[in-house]
């Protein structure tokens, strides 16, 4: 999948994979630490709360070590992805992160409208009419389906407060 042409550049697959393996091992270590705090021995009620997570943590760290070894031993100079591709990916991740981060303050409806509008205008290059129709239509439909029919309250911000919804 990642045998990109040799002319383009990007991060080496080996390095990224080693990094991820390291992060997984770190996660395992955190699990082990938390388990030890919860108690890992065999108490009067059978195994204590941390007994299973402790061994799970050990398994994660051990298998990560093997994966790291295998990954580094492999003679593979393929790319993880080209920089251009990664830029594409980030062009979704970054706005989504902003969208998700802003949601508790601005409310879901406003954030969604702006997010959809941005996505369609920037990446889709649609005409403003289409953009506005979809980006305003979706939150309104959502409002009726969730808040009115299914009575599921979604996060709201100052705009909804002002509209008295």
């Amino acid at each position: 999948m990642t045998t990109g042409s040799s002319s383009s550049t990007g991060p080496a697959h080996r390095l990224v994979e080693a990094g991820i393996t390291g992060l997984i091992a770190l996660f395992g270590a955190v699990v082990i630490y938390g388990s030890v705090k919860a108690g890992i021995n065999w108490g009067s009620e059978g195994p204590r709360a941390g007994f299973f997570p402790f061994y799970i943590g050990i398994f994660i760290v051990a298998s990560s070590a093997i994966n790291l070894w295998n990954g580094l031993r492999e003679d593979n100079d393929a790319l993880f992805a080209e920089w251009g591709q990664l830029r594409q990916v980030m062009s979704v991740v970054v706005p989504t992160a902003i969208y998700v981060g802003v949601m508790p303050f601005a409310g879901l409806y406003l954030a969604s409208a702006v997010f959809i509008g941005w996505f369609m205008r920037w990446l889709g290059k649609y005409r403003w009419v289409t953009v506005l129709a979809v980006s305003l239509g979706m939150p309104i439909v959502t409002y009726f389906i969730f808040e009115r029919w299914f009575l599921v309250p979604l996060p709201k911000g100052p705009v909804e407060e002002w509209l008295g919804l």
């Binding site: 705090k37 919860a38 808040e147 009575l151 599921v152 309250p153």
Partner: protein, 336 residues
């Protein structure tokens, strides 16, 4: 249109009356949908009660705004309590409680106490009954306790809902009162516990009436005694011509234990008097409906209703009692 005109008139009348007579008259009303939080999973006892109330409110049009039931069961209900604690000044959130109001903060150490919330009303108290499988030879509490004593310590299994919660507290109390030892096995829900007893995977349970009544009627389970000062009030026959009233109190059977579980309503912190009164009034109306009376009967609830200072005092005493019970049983959080 007609409705809103009526509403406007009623509001004006209320305002007018308020201005004329006592300023404390309840004039507040919800302006947004009211979130009714259940600090337990879908399908459990508290959830059933909340959804029944929601149904009654909707059917009888008791509120102008919709009531929305939301389950926040994470961390033995801690999620729901913390959510309410954080919504100070928002009068559109109420919560139904069970004993985890006391047990969850004590057992897990999460930063919460009922004093963080505003008490509204006690709706009912849930009873606990000692159940055994009908195939077992024990007919009375004394037979059963004698059998537990005769068996090697810890080989008799008691099934219950959750860990370090009401069912286990009662189990520990029985152990203390009778000088016996059970192995307590926690399950997720009361219905599951009752079925484990029918399948003989445990020897006894302390299910609420509503959780085990179906199996009693089916002749699969046998009630031995109720953990209340006196027998329950419902005398309609359920199984073999016996009614809830025919179950003796555990005290009369030599087990001096009383335990009732709170089914009460609290609202978010810093609620005004008007707001509390609105909900008290609402629940008074709910309690007057035939659906509610049916529900109380089907679950053999103790229908004590308390509000205001009486309610707060009751909760305070109950909290102290739980603290002692939990401490004696060694259930307090070790601080992690």
């Amino acid at each position: 249109m007609k409705r809103s005109a009526e509403f406007a008139l009623a509001t004006m009348a209320a305002l007018y009356a308020g201005a004329m007579a006592a300023p404390a008259l309840a004039a507040w009303e919800p302006v947004r949908p009211v979130e009714f939080i259940v600090p337990a999973g879908t399908g459990g006892g508290a959830d059933q009660m909340a959804r029944t109330i929601q149904g009654i409110v909707t059917k009888h049009n008791l509120m102008k705004q919709p009531m929305v039931v939301i389950n926040k069961s994470g961390g033995a209900g801690g999620e729901g309590f913390l959510d309410l604690k954080a919504s100070g000044g928002n009068p559109h959130k109420i919560i139904i409680t069970l004993s985890n109001l006391f047990t969850t903060p004590l057992a897990t150490g999460i930063p919460f106490s009922w004093k963080d919330l505003t008490p509204v009303a006690m709706l009912a108290l849930d009873e606990f009954v000692l159940w055994v499988n009908a195939e077992q030879p024990f007919k009375t509490t004394k037979d059963f306790i004698a059998a537990v004593k005769a068996a090697p310590a810890g080989t008799m299994k008691m099934g219950g809902t959750g860990s370090k919660q009401e069912d286990q507290i009662i189990t520990v109390a029985i152990e203390k009162a009778a000088g016996v030892r059970f192995t307590y096995i926690p399950y997720k829900g009361g219905g599951e516990v009752a079925v484990q007893l029918v399948g003989n995977h445990v020897e006894s349970t302390v299910n609420n009436p509503i959780e085990a009544v179906a199996q009693w009627r089916g002749g699969k389970l046998r009630p031995l005694c109720v953990f209340d000062a006196k027998p329950m009030a419902y005398d309609e026959p359920i199984a073999d011509g016996k009614s809830w009233k025919d179950i003796p109190s555990c005290k009369s059977q030599g087990l001096d234990i009383e335990y009732l579980m709170l089914r009460g309503i609290f609202m978010s912190p810093r609620a005004t008097k008007d707001q509390v009164e609105y909900y008290v009034d609402l629940f008074k109306k709910v309690r007057a409906t035939p659906e509610w009376l049916d529900f109380m009967k089907s679950g053999a609830f103790n229908t004590t209703f308390l509000t205001g200072a009486d309610y707060a005092k009751w909760v305070e005493i109950e909290e102290k009692r739980h603290e002692t019970l939990m401490k004696d049983a060694g259930f307090l959080a070790t601080g992690n």
